[in-house]
Symmetry: C2
Subunit: 532 residues, 2 copies
């Protein structure tokens, strides 16, 4: 990994300004009407286009009625602006209804990034979008293409996020279940005949609503397209493919990778990739672009978009059946793709040879007072009332438990392949405090869940950093492990958590502090909750 | 109206302590499952029982996930504690998720009162309950009865409050419509065959769920019952009756009234009454207690409870058909009841002979930027980010517009019986500042809505005061007017608004300030939003 920002720092800094209003609106992303959190009337929200080195201002007005909000800029490292990370409870108080909050941060590196709600389960209500950071004027990408296109993937539930959270918090536990639809650029198609809603619910589902006509990507025969693909699913790991077209992966989470060809792109929540695809097939017809659920036994129909060869009609159905995707339980293929990523020649940023500290995190499903939870080394994260960043900077030692969580677990006596003998865990708001500029290894160890012969997939995402493996989100496969290395060189407080919306809600995360004494004066706008 | 608190102030003050947790839970109040805001797992929440002169502490923990909350103590005058009135935006900032807020207030007068959410439309989500204040030990009521029973009425919608608010805010406007059910003590019965929900919604409606078995009031033959009846409907004016039994009204909104007999008690949102009823009918059977919608063309089935003569089975159905109530559009009968209330002999607190100020408020339905609104003298209330109480006490003149709203309208040229020529209004956060201890008359003038030949019913509720007419809530009948008189003798800032949930949401309210300089030091807990 290089730091091109340093090379081109002499380029004049620009400012990208967005004014957003966040509110609830009735929308039909998959033809089924429900309340959606929109930004300026849209879900996904507006794409932020910026150039490397730009300063992005987002002036966000919360026009929800009774709900607070916070937005995280996923993949942006927030160098020098840890208070703009948007992680409620970690870096800021939530933004109250009627309030306007200004996020300000520098996009220091070209690449494909995301943004999304980071409060409660608001991301799943439709609060998400893309950030595209281009290279400075005149600087070429290390690969060539004709056009650039953004594709954001999601899964979609008809239950409100409050209903989902009510189930997750209930005794007995009610899981959110498999999503009703998969969305490509905010569009899916629910099979309305399954809904059988009538009476007062009549008109709830309407497959002829233009809001849910499939996204169509129009291509010119012979041209090469850079597809910037990001996933913000609540639950689903996806396989993305374009019928009859090979794809070449060139970027992962903002890092150039050694190009390699794939038919299916496996993509986990919180990941972004750039793939190159050439419109080199029979141009007399259109092709399906599809997403299918993998890693869980799918109960959700294929998500569809149209890869449209100009001048065919953009909504002309391809003559073929959409792909049903690879075998959902072919973990080996997914692991193979995870291991295939290599930093691109000429853009290699070698990791430190040794680590100063190794933290081993056992990923387990647990019970606390009868409630289902997820834990790391038996601690299930509950965020404090006072954001960690405020508490640490102001030395408010009563704001959270000061004793550190454990750096490991009893490896010798824990059988990750079996049901745990004791599923009890503890709620905790303890954090890992890292020595500034030290090198940290994190080993994530997956385990059997509370279900016999079941281990889930956990896409882990680290705020404020890249890590070596390949990006800032890495999938932890069933029964598997992943070792990550990162430099604790970004003063601030950073969440590290599973990107599955329900898993983080149920405590699957830890928090790292590093160099708090180097953090500048906190803006007063992040305060207003908890102790002060 | 007397002030017995002064008479018995030598009685030792007691403390009533409640610890509440407010959260969302799936409940079936009318047999139809939906998310309900509960207090300690219940909706309606726990009844607060206290004695005149007691200090009530409610330690309220907000365990909603992303929503703030505030609770108003309806009918409690908050003498000396205006910051405990619970009106978000007026007297406090909203309580954030995870936070605990302590309401502390003295219940200075015996009577029947209510509490409910006063933020967004949370009252309609089930956040409500009763306050029963008894006379001091040894002090007799001016009427006799054997037992005391609390009955709280509501209407109920299956759409979430966010869905309701989305419709009210939409262009075109989508009204919340008539409620699906009427609830007596939190129980109703929806006709599940109307729902035809199946597929993923199967099990949503279940009439055999014990949660929705009718409330049964067991009476002993020959005994007299004091029913303390309160209504917190979102929309509906109700007629309450007990089959075959006369009722005698003895209390209204905490004031003793000259007893009078009725068959139907007309009750509007925000009102409370005590009626005496004697179990003097054939005791071999049970009787229906019913509520029916009046003042709007009803589309909601009768709400049912069972008036159960001991020892019949409490759920034994009466052999008769439930009453369908009086004619919904018999405004004359309702007006007659409104005019029938007289303060009880021996408890008359005479109004000042003259008023120092007369404020005439024209009630109109309007449009602002295409959105439907309600206005007073063409101003539609929008609460400021900084609660008025904080803004006024701290002299934060930028927090709201400082120019006063008008004390009247162009009476000569406004035809209240016709559609307005110009329906435009203005959003405003201006307030009426009253001279402390002055006497204020408010004349509410109803008018035609934006629908031809339609004028709605508006139950107006004044915080922090009784007024002369009879209580602290008064119904404004279609095309009618009501004149109220009150003394501006309670230092603080007080909302005065239509108690229909959607009407207040759409701006139907004003705010009075009086004696702000006499308000004590504000607790820091009410702050944390807007300017400071």
């Amino acid at each position: 990994m290089t730091e091109p920002a340093e090379i081109f720092s002499s380029v004049e800094a620009r400012t990208v300004y967005h004014k957003w209003e966040v509110k609830y609106e009735i929308k039909s992303p998959d033809c089924y009407k429900k309340l959606v959190i929109t930004i300026n009337g849209r879900s996904p929200g507006p794409t932020i286009f910026a150039q490397q080195g730009d300063t992005v201002f987002v002036e966000l007005k919360n026009s929800l009625w009774t709900e607070n909000v916070a937005v995280h800029w996923h993949g942006i490292r927030q160098l020098g602006t840890p208070w703009s990370d948007g992680a409620e409870g970690v870096t800021q108080c939530p933004i109250l209804p009627g309030e306007t909050f200004i996020y300000r941060f520098v996009v220091d590196r070209a690449g494909t990034y995301l943004y999304h709600g980071h409060y409660g389960m608001q991301r799943a209500a439709g609060l998400y979008g893309s950030i595209i950071v281009s290279l400075p004027e005149g600087v070429p990408e290390p690969f060539s293409y004709d056009y650039d296109q953004n594709i954001i993937l999601n899964d979609w539930y008809h239950a409100s996020t409050n209903e989902q959270a009510a189930g997750l918090s209930a005794i007995p536990f009610v899981f959110v279940g498999e999503p009703q639809s998969l969305l490509i650029n905010g569009r899916g198609k629910y099979n309305c005949s399954l809904s059988t809603a009538s009476g007062s619910a009549a008109g709830v589902c309407n497959t002829t609503n233009p809001e849910c006509s499939p996204y169509s990507l129009t291509v010119v025969p012979g041209k090469t397209y850079r597809l910037r693909i990001g996933s913000l699913t609540s639950l689903s790991a996806l396989a993305f493919e374009i019928e009859g077209h090979d794809m070449t992966v060139v970027e992962a989470d903002g890092n150039y990778v050694e190009p390699f060809a794939i038919r299916n792109l496996y993509i986990y929540s919180g990941e972004t990739y750039s793939v190159l695809v050439k419109a080199d097939q029979d141009s007399s017809r259109n092709y399906w672009a599809t997403i299918n659920v993998v890693a869980r036994n799918p109960a959700t129909p294929t998500g569809l978009a149209i890869f449209n060869y100009n001048p065919n009609h953009p909504q002309k159905q391809p003559p073929t059946a959409p792909a049903t995707g690879p075998l959902w339980n072919d973990t080996a293929s997914r692991l193979a793709q995870s291991l295939a990523f290599r930093a691109r020649q000429g853009f290699i940023n070698k990791p430190p040879v040794t680590a100063d500290r190794v933290i081993v995190l056992l990923n387990t499903q647990n019970k606390i007072d009868g409630h289902f939870k997820w834990s790391l080394n038996n601690l299930s994260l509950i965020l404090p009332q006072t954001p960690y960043l405020v508490a640490l900077k102001e030395n408010l030692t009563g704001a959270f438990a000061q004793d550190p969580p454990p750096d490991g677990y009893d490896v010798a006596n824990y059988d990750i392949h079996s049901l745990a003998e004791n599923v009890n865990a503890t709620s905790s708001n303890r954090i890992y405090r890292l020595r500034f500029n030290s090198t940290v290894d994190v080993i994530l160890q997956n385990a059997n869940s509370m279900t016999v012969k079941n281990s889930e997939t956990h896409p882990w995402h680290l705020h404020g950093h890249d890590f070596w493996v390949h990006g800032n989100t890495a999938p932890l496969h069933p029964y598997g492990w992943t070792a990550l290395r990162f430099r604790a060189d970004n003063p601030g407080v950073w969440a590290f958590h599973c990107h599955v919306e329900s898993h983080f809600y149920m405590g699957m995360g830890v928090v790292f502090e590093e160099g708090i004494e180097k953090v500048g004066e906190l803006p007063s706008s992040i305060r207003g909750c908890g102790e002060s």
